[in-house]
Amino acid sequence: MFRTLADFHSSMQDPQEKPRTGNLGTPADQRLVVRYLVGVVVQVQDVRAATRAIEELGLIVTHLPSTGAFLGRRNVTLLVGLPEGMQQAIYDAIHETCHQRVEYVSTPVEGAPMPIPLSTPITVGGATIFTLEIDRYEEF
């Protein structure tokens, strides 16, 4: 989906979104003490919806391009600083926006004299969430 880093950056731009005037900092009205670093691995298809849902909670999202999982597909790792008490809210936001999908991969049939491709359904996606406690958080 993105071949270069520039592609990745532009794929993260949401065309429907108004230009943002904010910055890296958390909006002033929601300036809470950040206690956790949340790493969320999501499928490329879900990135925009997930980012929007998390930003609606007043949190700032950083994207890292990544690959992995069973099929080794491209995905995106989101980094979010999370204040105490918002764990459930972010889990719900991710739960609502990241879906499991069934994809088909062709596997050769073993023992067949000719290579006959066989479609094997594999459930992929959803999201993986890591919540790490942080010692110190700083915006400068």
Partner: protein
């Protein structure tokens, strides 16, 4: 042992990485996006001894360029505790 995850502007990456390396810190840079008006940013991962956390953070502070807009942040950093760290 701690790991510092610092998210800074792309244009600050070069001086920051250089200064950290010059002071004996090892830096891993991951290109990222988001935060700053959705522009490119750099995420740095730095493994440091507990007593050197402050020094590394000072280097980050000193080598990021202050913005004209006082409301604009230069970066965000997270310090995480690391159970085990091995360099081979």
């Amino acid at each position: 042992m701690k790991m510092i995850i610092a998210i800074i502007h792309d244009h600050d990456n070069e001086p920051v990485s250089h200064a950290l390396t010059a002071s004996g810190f090892r830096v891993t840079r991951v290109a990222s996006t988001g935060g700053f008006l959705r522009r490119g940013s750099s995420t740095l991962m730095i493994g440091v001894e507990d007593e050197k956390v402050e020094e590394a953070i000072q280097i980050l502070h000193k080598n990021t360029t202050p913005s004209d807009d006082p409301g604009q942040k230069r970066g965000t950093l997270f310090v995480l505790d690391v159970k085990n760290f091995t360099q081979i």
